[in-house]
């Protein structure tokens, strides 16, 4: 079954390779596979059916920055509840999450905030349990726009445009809602993404690179992810995944956030 689903893509890729000439740009463009097909292929090669059957996910790992190392732990529950704790030693603990549609973040030293606007949208995209399947409820369009080398790997480039949140200015937010993903031509694996990070605290372009795909808990996942912003890199290493172990307590927001939510509710 898997071979049959991927075979047309392999053929299309072959045609693209055989007809790379600059005199035949129309032919090369026609050789680009449908974006949805690339996504489906990715889901297939990563055994996404394991994730699709689960209700929650608990991940643990480490991260490395130029200034030091830390630990990362996250919980996700279908469809859109998350909590992530990043412990960075001397630099403190960062927490973030999504609960009942509200995204929040706390910083070391007491900063606590509820996310809004484009930042809320981007965090929801990251946190949606089945974001990898690119559901139409979250994504407005997927378009294969080309084929190029991404970090030395030949990939199909897919433009992804997220749906705006209710009340959002569609034109003004188009740039922040648009990012590109790179699916490896040969393997179908998602090799990375590029986009614009926009939020209350930071704004700027990013590159995310997915490396070292390995099977964890029955599904193929990138166990090494490099996030690059400016000349700075954060490397995260995923060490374990457990499915269907997360509890409500794992998703509970810190007291500071609960207080903000209460204050917001009182103000309405």
């Amino acid at each position: 079954m898997r071979l049959l689903r991927t075979l047309p893509l392999v053929l299309l890729a072959s045609l693209a390779v055989l007809a790379p000439s600059a005199q035949e740009p129309a032919a090369a463009a026609q050789a680009l596979p449908e974006a949805r097909a690339l996504v489906q292929r990715f889901l297939t090669v990563t055994k996404y059916e394991v994730v699709a059957k689960s209700q929650s996910r608990h991940e643990k790992g480490t991260l490395e920055l130029p200034v030091g190392k830390g630990q990362l732990e996250s919980w996700s529950v279908r469809p859109l509840s998350t909590r992530q704790v990043t412990k960075l030693g001397d630099f403190g603990t960062f927490e973030s999450g999504i609960l009942a549609g509200t995204a929040w973040m706390t910083l070391p030293g007491g900063g606590a905030t509820l996310l809004e606007g484009v930042e809320l949208l981007q965090v929801r995209l990251d946190g949606a349990y089945d974001a990898a399947t690119k559901p139409e409820t979250l994504f407005q369009s997927l378009t294969t726009v080309g084929r190029e080398a991404f970090e030395g790997v030949e990939c199909f480039k897919v433009e992804v445009v997220a749906r705006p949140l209710e009340g959002m200015d569609v034109e003004a937010t188009k740039k922040a809602r648009t990012f590109h993903e790179f699916y490896e031509v040969e393997s179908g694996l998602l090799r990375g993404s590029k986009g614009l990070l926009e939020g209350e605290i930071s704004k700027g372009p990013y590159v995310r690179i997915f490396k070292d795909y390995k099977e964890l808990a029955g599904t193929l996942v990138p166990t090494r992810t490099v996030l690059r912003q400016d000349s700075l890199e954060v490397v995260t290493k995923l060490e374990s995944i457990d499915f269907d172990t997360a509890t409500a307590a794992d998703l509970a927001a810190p007291k500071a956030i609960q207080r903000l939510l209460a204050a917001e509710a009182a103000a309405k």
Binding site: L63, P66, V67, G68, K69, L72, Q84, T86, G89, D90, F91, G92, F94, S96, M105, L107, P108, G109, G110, G111, A112, T113, E119, Q122, V123, D126, L197, G199, E200, I201, S202, K203, G204, P205, Y206, R208, L227, Q229, D230, S231, L232, V234, T236, K255, A256, R259, L260, A263
Partner: protein
């Protein structure tokens, strides 16, 4: 969340020391990495107008010829110095916490100093210290501490070319003096003073344990010995809280949170950032949140491709989880030439929003967000990756936070036992704390 972890670190330049034999290959590896890192991460693609290629052409052969870490560090320091900006420095490997015998500055002789006019003057004497017991008093001039010759050093610093002027000299002299005043418990040092009558006095003082907390800023940076003080007092019927701390590190902020929570309902708060040379800029957001009912932007850090806003997030919950209301009373911040980096982000940002009134003397003007990276020879390269502007668009690098009310140390006031900036802040709060200022 990780995509939002661009928490840029505003760090502090610290001092140096030597080591062993170096090969040409390893020297060039360290030089090239430092040069490339600055080239690729400096927020200004023109590198402040410096011809960085020409710097490489000129200094790379000198790096190749270096046969000790000290010699290499001198070349790297010269290279970084060409930028004329703060937060570019090489921190020696043996200054880092992972060595078996980290430099112990948890003890000291019991006094602090500032460069006042042309002299290094005692500005603080610690209770219970050897200095206090030996009769050292505010306003005494420090001539020498062991082999540290304050007079000669001041003369040489004045003579040396420095793009950042008198304030940077004062900052460097203070840093060097601190290195002589602090040391391991039990160590005895001979200190030459000029007392209140300008008579020379030679005292042998012993380093005693200070009330400090060990704190770090990652494995690339040396240990900090955090000093923290807080007090509550009344003056002319007004209740005032005072807190001061030496660096923006987590343990400091935890203590500060507790102190500020205890100042609830007071008429005014004084934050003493003199001697606070910086730390983590992200911590300024939580601390600023003690003073705002709504989110407020203190300023923005700009890197080559990104921006990072320093935002005050209103603090509605205490560390213990109780509901609290941000402090609405008068806020005074004390600064001087030893106030740097994250402290300038905080003070300058609060001033620009009109939320705080600044007293003292102009701060260091060394306020660039910086990162650290390990070089192949084991040393750490501290390199600035961004610039900072306050909420009103004012740059602080090279300029500093200019007080709303100048109140510099003078020897005369110190000899009377008075702290001019502190007294000015208290008077302001006692008079109602109106007109916080803002630039």
């Amino acid at each position: 969340m990780l995509r939002r972890l661009l928490a840029l670190l505003v760090l502090v330049v610290l001092a140096s020391a030597p080591r062993a034999q170096l090969t040409e290959a390893s020297a060039l590896a360290a030089f090239d990495e430092a040069w490339e890192t600055v080239r690729d991460s400096h927020w200004d693609k023109t590198l402040n107008g410096v011809d960085w290629e020409a710097v490489r052409t000129e200094l790379r052969p000198k790096a190749a010829a270096a046969r000790s870490d000290a010699a290499l560090r001198a070349v790297l320091d010269e290279m970084l110095g060409r930028l004329g900006q703060s937060h570019f420095a090489v921190i020696p490997d043996d200054a880092l916490p992972r060595t078996s015998a980290p430099e112990d500055q948890s003890a000291g002789l019991g006094f602090d100093v500032r460069f006042v006019g042309d002299a290094l003057v005692v500005t603080h004497v610690e209770p219970g210290s050897a200095a206090l017991e030996a009769g050292v008093r505010l306003g005494w001039v420090v001539l020498a501490v062991g082999n540290f010759d304050a007079v000669a050093l001041a003369r040489s610093l004045h003579a040396a070319p420095t793009p950042l002027g008198a304030r940077r000299i004062a900052f460097q002299l203070w840093g060097a003096a601190r290195g002589a005043i602090l040391g391991p418990v039990g160590e005895r040092r001979t200190v030459r003073f000029k007392d209140a009558e300008d008579k020379e006095r030679e005292l042998v003082l012993e380093c005693r344990k200070r009330d400090v907390t060990r704190a770090g800023l990652g494995e690339n940076m040396p240990v900090f010995w955090l000093e923290f003080t807080s007090a509550a007092f009344e003056r002319e019927g007004k209740t005032i809280g005072l807190a001061g701390f030496s660096n923006w590190v987590l343990p400091a902020v935890e203590k500060l949170d507790a102190a500020l929570d205890s100042f609830a309902g007071f008429d005014g708060v004084i934050l003493d950032l003199r001697g606070n040379t910086g730390g983590l800029a992200t911590l300024t957001m939580g601390v600023a949140g003690h003073f705002f009912l709504k989110k407020a932007k203190l300023g923005v850090m700009k890197t080559r491709e990104s921006t990072v806003n320093i935002v005050a997030f209103p603090r509605l919950t205490s560390a213990a989880g109780a509901d609290v209301t941000p402090f609405g009373g008068a806020l005074a911040i004390l600064v001087d030439e030893t106030t740097g980096s994250a402290s300038e982000v905080f003070a300058g940002g609060m001033q620009s929003l009109g939320r705080a009134r600044i007293f003292g003397s102009t701060s260091a003007g060394a306020v660039l967000p910086a990162m650290s990276v390990k070089l192949p020879n084991g040393d750490t390269l501290l390199h600035a990756v961004g610039d900072f502007e306050t909420a009103t668009g004012a740059r602080l690098e090279g300029v500093g936070v200019v007080p709303d009310e100048p109140a510099p140390y003078t020897r005369e006031e110190l000899l009377r036992g008075r702290d001019p900036a502190f007294e000015a802040a208290v008077r302001w709060i006692a008079a109602g704390g109106k007109g916080a200022g803002g630039r």
